[in-house]
């Protein structure tokens, strides 16, 4: 992604920030900005994995359901064994396995990514609902919860995770052969195949990474909310995918970046933060959210056309 495009998007975030700073005294405080970063981190962790999938012209609709099952299993393991490490490993492995199966469905069975991961979404919902039977698992050790709600040097722990994933993911996509191959597959799968890129194995990799990020997000979710229920994933899926697209990654693959996704996640978080700070009424909030998202996308398109023309 060209730096200038990212500039336009960051511009959208800055415009909203300036408006909020003018309207609310509380907005520009350091603690609120850290608060926004922490809230954005959960969505970014999920969205970063999907970014890789979408860059390769795929799609992963199962991330929310993945978070729910991974969180419930991690919660069970922590409760049964008392081991935080085992719980984290469980959450991550569950995420990875689901991602790997998604990859196999797409590459070996040659299912369209939408169908494969949509089917996976329902399978995971089914397993989680059955397993939890309407139950809630809650109350975890403080050392584990610090992963979601703790601070290090005044900065929330999930923010470090977010920045870590951003840097690692940025280096991976920009400077490794794997990263370049993922872009190439997204730009034109046939050409990529003919030029000798192992398309199937790279696709397996991106789905697995997406699953792994959902597993990580599930651990952070669990640590932050101190509880796991079967239905926690559904409200996460669309915002995460929206963050990827608002961040400028093309749904058709080949174009986009993780830093764009960070901007998208910040954007969505700022909208909720702003509505709360300005206490916009409950019945208006969906309308306001929708209008801002559409307006931002439109401004972005206009700005890019100017830039190109």
């Amino acid at each position: 992604m060209k730096a200038s495009n990212l500039g336009y998007r960051l511009g959208g975030v800055l415009i909203i920030s300036v408006i909020l700073a003018l309207l609310s005294d509380a907005f520009l405080s350091a603690s609120n900005l850290l608060n926004v970063l922490r809230q954005a981190s959960l969505i970014f962790l999920l969205a970063s994995g999907v970014t890789l999938v979408i860059l390769a012209a795929g799609l992963d609709l199962s991330i929310g359901a993945n978070v729910a099952l991974s969180a419930c299993l991690a919660a069970t393991v922590i409760k049964l064994t008392g081991s935080i490490a085992l719980g984290i490993v469980t959450g991550l492995s569950c995420g990875v396995v689901i991602g790997l199966v998604n990859g196999v469905l797409v590459t070996a069975l040659r299912l369209p990514p939408f169908i494969a991961t949509y089917g996976m979404l329902w399978v995971l919902h089914g397993i989680t609902y059955w397993y939890m039977a309407g139950d809630t698992i809650y109350d975890f050790p403080p050392t584990f919860r610090a992963l979601g709600s703790g601070y290090a040097l005044g900065v929330p722990v999930p923010v470090y995770l977010m920045l870590g994933c951003l840097v690692a993911g940025g280096l991976f996509t920009r400077y490794t052969t794997y990263g370049h191959q993922i872009y190439a597959i997204g730009a034109n799968t046939e050409v990529a195949r003919l030029s000798g890129i192992p398309v199937r194995s790279r696709l397996n990799l991106v789905y697995t990474l997406s699953g792994a990020m959902a597993g990580l997000a599930s651990v952070v979710y669990l640590a932050r909310l101190n509880s796991a229920e079967a239905d926690i994933g559904e409200p996460l899926m669309l915002p995460a995918i929206a963050a990827v697209l608002i961040g400028g990654t093309s749904l058709f693959g080949g174009i986009g970046s993780l830093s764009g996704t960070l901007v998208g996640a910040l954007f969505l978080t700022l909208v909720l933060n702003g509505m709360n700070l300005l206490t916009i009424g409950a019945n208006w909030q969906p309308l306001v959210t929708g209008v801002i998202v559409v307006a931002a996308a439109w401004v972005d398109i206009v700005a890019r056309r100017r830039g190109e023309g």
Partner: protein, 326 residues
């Protein structure tokens, strides 16, 4: 606390995960067969209702069939489950509409098929019912509000975490909160924002409101899950406020015991399940039933959580006479 894996799996077996129904209860096909319609498999509240219903059915030697939409709160799915029930002809139906308005035509179909229906939990906007068994949401909000504001000695800043915008339950509970606030002139409502009945949203909304308001003394949440989300936000920000929820879930009771949650207002699912099914069976056996069942809806705090401090799977329904008197 968490049950063992084995109990968990056993409990999971109680619900039919497929779109069609499965039958349970001692009576089997020969006895009075009651069909129970609940909204989803995800909310612990409906699981409590199902367990209460099971207990009532076994107490009264009747059978029970569950209808639960695979997709939570799905209107078309509940509609087709009604059609399925009309073909299978249970003796009576205990019905929680997934949507109080949209399911009215479904209720009318049941009326046309002459199957007696008891309306449970959410009051349907139309159709004919033997009886309504459920909580009064506005009164829940009112008692929660009054309890919290009395605890604050009638002064301070409070916030409301609403449920889903546009939902009848949320709107009524929030009306109750606001009425309570209007009774205490020393209390200031600094914000009323939607948490969609979800823990994560309530957590983030509370975090945002803590940024905007330096002093928040009380949080009125329209359900327990959101109250607990608000508590996580307060903990994370190292701030203190009295928090009250609604529903009387086991998790809320544990939080009350731990001194984190001030109180919850009991609108207990388990007893609703008991009374709903008992009403249906009594109607079939030509025993008297009230057309409207008013729950006492007590506020549960440190002094009286005892009754609720037990997993629903281990509870059993009180006798009818005890419930009706209470």
């Amino acid at each position: 606390m968490m049950r063992s894996i084995r109990t968990r799996l056993w409990a999971a077996g109680l619900i039919c995960v497929s779109g069609t129904a499965c039958s349970r209860g001692g009576g089997g096909q020969a006895a009075d067969q009651v069909a129970l319609f609940t909204k989803n498999q995800t909310n612990p509240y409906f699981q409590s209702i199902r367990l209460g219903a099971e207990s009532a059915a076994s107490q009264m030697k009747a059978g029970i069939v569950h209808y639960v939409p695979t997709k939570p709160d799905s209107i078309p799915e509940q509609m087709s489950q009604i059609e399925d029930a009309i073909i299978k002809q249970p003796k009576a139906i205990v019905f929680i509409p997934v949507d109080f308005k949209a399911m009215v035509p479904g209720v009318q179909k049941l009326n046309a098929a002459s199957i007696p229906v008891v309306n449970l939990t959410d009051r349907s906007a139309g159709g004919q019912f033997v009886s309504f068994v459920g909580c009064d949401d506005e009164r829940l909000g009112l008692s929660a509000g009054r309890y919290l504001l009395k605890h604050l000695n009638g002064k301070g800043n409070v916030i409301i975490i609403e449920g889903v915008g546009g939902s009848a339950n949320s709107a009524a509970r929030v009306r109750g909160f606001n009425q309570a606030i209007s009774e205490f002139p020393g209390v200031k409502l600094v914000a009323s924002q939607p948490g969609n009945f979800q823990r994560l949203q309530a957590l983030q909304v509370t975090e945002n409101l803590l940024q905007a308001h330096a002093q928040i003394d009380g949080v009125l949440a329209a359900n327990d899950a959101m109250a607990l989300g608000a508590i996580e936000a307060l903990d994370g920000a190292n701030r203190k406020a009295a928090v009250i929820g609604i529903n009387g879930t086991k998790e809320a009771v544990d939080a009350i015991k731990a001194g984190k949650l001030l109180a919850t207002v009991d609108c207990n699912g388990f007893e609703q399940g008991c009374i709903g099914v008992m009403t249906a069976i009594r109607h079939l056996r030509k025993l008297p039933v009230p057309t409207e069942f008013a729950f006492p809806q007590p506020v549960i705090d440190r002094s009286n959580y005892g009754d609720l401090d037990m997993p629903d799977a281990q509870r059993s329904c009180p006798m009818w006479e005890e419930l009706v008197k209470g």
